[in-house]
Symmetry: C2
Subunit: 346 residues, 2 copies
């Protein structure tokens, strides 16, 4: 029997979805049950990650993509992943200051989420929010991360297609960033492409992509597609066509390049659907979601047990800090005890 | 009895330390044992995190700080946290291209580390590297993260003092970043301060710090220190002096402001030593290190058990992706079984 809340979420009810998201955030066990009910009804939405360097104009770009999909009659969900503090815990930016242009559109559902769970590990909340929006029947879910590094890699484990946004003139570290994201980028957007240095940024990206190709044998002599001078994205390499991240120039503030970006994302979707890579990516996403949940369940159980046996976590931390307790021994012994002992029955 | 490797590390032997770090990276159980031996001898180094937006010139700034400490006769360790891919796993930037100016100085020990463990969670490697450098007797350990978001928060859980580096003209998202790091920043460095817009960046930071102060009662009417117009960092607020992050202007390329930055870091150290905040921060660091290790131990044990019982993780992921297996049920039941069953004996 489907619960009333799950049924309402599946019908696209915004208030039901918002309530479920709140309950998930509050870690109500009932919310977990609803998520489980919804799971078989997920996997339909196209999930697109938008990530990249700060200052790149990701929010504006997301805004433009939302408008683009809305014009085509698609319903859209937006999950904005906020950088948060370990101390305050909550999302710093509310949903209110984001995406105000779509605030009154019932076809757009926007939520912010903190990147950290209360025990300091990666939160599974972003994945949960995507699942709820998926189950609601959203055609497209855009996941925007402010951040470079782990947040970026996290978004890769949620999305079908990852768009890495960069801008001209970010400086030397850009090389580092590009190196870090090369493997997760399915599409590059060079935003603010009307700025000086855009050509150089595109060339640098091409150079890095070329370098990567150079590392693969028999990959050198492909012909450039005349209509896409910035890199044809599908090339035959033996058994299966390989995806080459296209580089799209955008000026999000003036809504330039939005259609081209959306089209590049669409081409990537078709590519995944027509190759084994789609299935491999889906398995990768499932693996990440599963491990993320498992990690959190295990840690919660372990900390509860630890606090029963050894006192409050904060006191233990103080003892460790004073070198009176050994964190390695504590962690290892607790992990072993949890494997050996009956523990609490549920 | 102390093992020979632990003794050599404690004597500052670079080759022994490098070997231990490799062994930790390869996850040899013997390396864990050495780390446990070293633990009582840690907690002496001053650990300083250097983080902030990409393009901010953090590496150059770290380089300048290293030179500053070396001139004062202090030994220095540098841990560079690289953004890495979930797929390749390794650190993308080698140590070779970093900090070449100090490559021949035996008083400087530099290591890069990937941010991710092989199961996709936050790696404890950065913390391990800091512990080894600490045990080696390094006076100062600088931890540099490329990244904004989780990496940044991670560095906060390792360091005594967190320096957030920003630059003029990063654009609108800077506000977001600043909001995200306000709570972890002990010192702000506005680098490339000779650029247009530096005054505005400083004013914005002051504004955000002011906003934060505004949220605290009875915090409004403090007198500005005449010699530090950009914000006196210690103010009396009732029982204990409270730290106000100073804002230091630097031009790392020309080595300007390095001494001022080092001095601000030093003042923060003294502040921690003379207040309860030092102890609280130490406990917080210990808590994070402990949880990080526990999380990894638990997940490894659980995945090993899962693969024994249910088949390879990759196959399970494929079943989840095909909606044939329920990740919620799998994770929850596994967590429960691990609590209940005898499991493997060790």
């Amino acid at each position: 029997m489907e619960s009333p809340l799950a049924a309402r979420v599946r019908s696209g009810d915004v208030r039901a979805a918002a309530r479920l998201m709140r309950d998930l955030d509050d870690r109500l066990p009932s919310a977990d049950g609803v998520l489980r009910e919804l799971f078989p009804h997920t996997g339909r939405a196209q999930v697109v990650g938008i990530t990249g360097a700060p200052g790149a104009g990701k929010s504006t770009l997301v805004d433009r993509l939302v408008a683009h999909h809305r014009r085509a009659g698609r319903s859209v969900g937006v999950v904005a992943v906020d950088p948060t503090s370990t101390f305050s815990g909550g999302a710093i930016l509310g949903d209110r200051i984001r995406m105000q242009g779509h605030a009154l559109d019932p076809g757009v559902f926007i939520r912010s989420v903190a990147t950290r769970g209360h025990l300091g590990g990666l939160s599974r909340s972003a994945a949960d929010l995507v699942a709820v929006m998926d189950a609601m029947g959203k055609d497209v879910v855009l996941v925007e991360t402010v951040g470079v590094g782990q947040d970026e890699i996290e978004v890769a484990s949620l999305a079908h297609t990852v768009v890495v946004v960069t801008v001209p003139g970010l400086g030397d570290d850009v090389q580092v960033i590009k190196a870090g994201v090369l493997e997760i980028a399915d599409v590059f957007a060079v935003n603010k492409a009307d700025r000086e240095g855009a050509d150089r940024t595109v060339r640098e990206l091409q150079g890095m992509l070329g370098l990567r190709q150079g590392q693969r044998p028999a990959d050198h002599d492909h012909a450039h597609h005349p209509l896409r001078p910035e890199g044809p994205e599908v090339r035959a390499t033996g058994a299966e066509a390989e995806w080459e991240p296209p580089i799209v120039r955008t000026v999000a503030l003036r809504d330039e390049g939005t259609a081209e970006l959306a089209e590049a994302i669409e081409r990537h979707r078709s590519h995944l659907a027509s190759t084994e890579q789609g299935r491999a990516r889906a398995a990768q996403r499932a693996r990440a979601a599963f491990l993320s949940r498992l990690r959190e369940q295990l840690l919660e159980g372990a900390v509860a047990r630890l606090e029963e046996e050894e006192g409050r976590l904060d006191e233990i931390a103080a003892r460790i800090a004073a070198r009176q307790a050994d964190p390695y021994r504590l962690a290892d012994e607790l992990a072993r005890r949890l494997r050996r002992d009956p523990g609490e029955e549920r």
